[in-house]
Chain length 386, copies 2
Amino acid sequence: MSVITCVAPVNIAVIKYWGKRNEELILPLNDSISATLNVEYMRAKTTVMASPTFKENKIWLNGKEESFENPRLQHCMKELKQRARKNTDVVNWNIHVCSENNFPTAAGLASSAAGYACFVYAIAQLYGVEGDITAIARRGSGSACRSIYGGWVQWHVGKSDDGSDSFATQIAGVSHWPEMRILTLVVNSSRKKCSSTDGMRRSIATSSLLKYRVDHVVKDRVEGIIRAIKEKDFKAFAEITMKDSNQFHAICSDTYPPLSYVNEVSRRIIELIHAYNELRGTTKVAYTFDAGPNACLYLLEEDVPEVVALIQYVFPSDTERVEYFKGLPINPGSLSDELKVKIDIPKQKPGSIKYIIYTDVGEGARVLNDDNEHLLNDCGNPKRLN
Amino acid sequence: MSVITCVAPVNIAVIKYWGKRNEELILPLNDSISATLNVEYMRAKTTVMASPTFKENKIWLNGKEESFENPRLQHCMKELKQRARKNTDVVNWNIHVCSENNFPTAAGLASSAAGYACFVYAIAQLYGVEGDITAIARRGSGSACRSIYGGWVQWHVGKSDDGSDSFATQIAGVSHWPEMRILTLVVNSSRKKCSSTDGMRRSIATSSLLKYRVDHVVKDRVEGIIRAIKEKDFKAFAEITMKDSNQFHAICSDTYPPLSYVNEVSRRIIELIHAYNELRGTTKVAYTFDAGPNACLYLLEEDVPEVVALIQYVFPSDTERVEYFKGLPINPGSLSDELKVKIDIPKQKPGSIKYIIYTDVGEGARVLNDDNEHLLNDCGNPKRLN
């Protein structure tokens, strides 16, 4: 019997991935760039156990058994087995997989990226796979390739038809820009949404603006934001981040029928950030939105107290403080009366923002060495079920 | 003393005008196309009186005196005087102008287009201006040039730097497509918005997608929709209309900071129309949105009862029926239980749509020959003030 438990982080794109040039291989239309978030506060955790006694492959996600026949999962398994270098016995055994996120999947926080990164990373350890595994994680969920590494990560579009050059690399490590912080604002929403896969497919089929974005806009932005990250130029970084988020949502609107991922609360957050930056006379905060209404704000540590106070003022909580703030400890600053008056955004309904996760840039996927961390018991069954 | 009273209609663009290549002359970046609405239900009405006894030019808009020094108004006056062919006395007299809309200006229903069309048309009559006056109306408000004519109208982008070839022509007359109907859904909104002029300026300065739209998308759409109008091909007409509305709002999202004219109710209307078209198995209704949250729906007369019943079901009124429906008489159909079940859109808060104006395609600007219609009394003062 062989067992391993790993964790993998969430990543938040600042140059967006939208559209596959090859659906089977999950090859993107353009490069994308993200920061990897601290694995402490938002992560997938996965235990993989291989045993000659297991009659079949099994997988449990967040306490519920799911089918192992999922084609994306099968693609990852096939590539991992081809690249296995040790434990040929282990590679032939069946496996049990148990995976959990420490944040609500329903919150729409890119759980599949962390999940597939963790799955691929754990099995790669078990099978002794050497070299790059980001291209394998990509077969599970495109943006999973960016969750293998910590710090600032680039997923390269690649040129090859077989996808061999569409992998992720690190632009800068975790310690490169230590002042950077991320606030994830989890927005209340009951709206059902079109899955990213379906949405991308529809955009490719119908949006003429997407083609223009891919051919003429993204390249300069990628170069610009890499420069901004390397030089720690927050203003340049923030402006490219916001423009790219806005352009992604423009592509969604140009899709037919249109895709609408952000909602009225998201739009108020956008307004608030622009109003705040204007009042402060420089770009202090950047927003970015993926295929859902939650906002991720990038900002520097020194600005966190005031920005959190401002968010709390415009989007009051309807719960206790302890539930409103998650992640790193937050001490909201006091909001000057001047700011309250000048920020001309009406107070929103309590609970419009459900909670805030405060975090920083962190390391990539890693092994947990404590046996107590395993999510499977010695028989290969989940310790907890839903 | 010389006096005239005219009315001019509202027009609703199906190929959108967004962005000026010359701000002073109000020259657009691309052709646009609209239908002119029945002047009975939504119109500007303007009385112009010229008299040798008037000490100065004066203008009242919706019962409030405004400045005659407005540069756009001055540009129109200058061109009208240059083109005057009769009554040289009258042309040298000062004038009093009184103008009223029969729909709330605040509703964001392109009142400036009807207003300037009416102003220019009335003075052109008074001064005996011959030939095209749409290019003069354009100097007041770009889309005003399309409100001079009835039926289906095209505003040509033109090539000349002096704007002389940027005027409107009729694609088809009022009687060409007699089954066409328009439902204007006036959406509740307290949101202040960025004016079209400022919004356009910001889009030109920041949206790379706008340039692509202008250079590579609009031309095919203009050709396609003219063909659809001429052939009365509703499906083709409707799809181009919706795609162009969506692309306009995509450009708004790609603008920095982003412009957001539609709101959550607008988005629900979009969802509802797509869901309805899908259930009906063909495109029965088209939506289009200008720089505001109100929807204009194009549809054929035979489909009005069911569509109105559906809108009433999803967006219940919070007022009496008599106030909810304006314009042509409406008899909402009964909604089949099947449709209620299959349209998977939750009922919205009563009053989300304030009221519905039901109308058809109508004639352009014209003179009212009844002296009782004058908005100014014999002394040149408004009969009514606010």
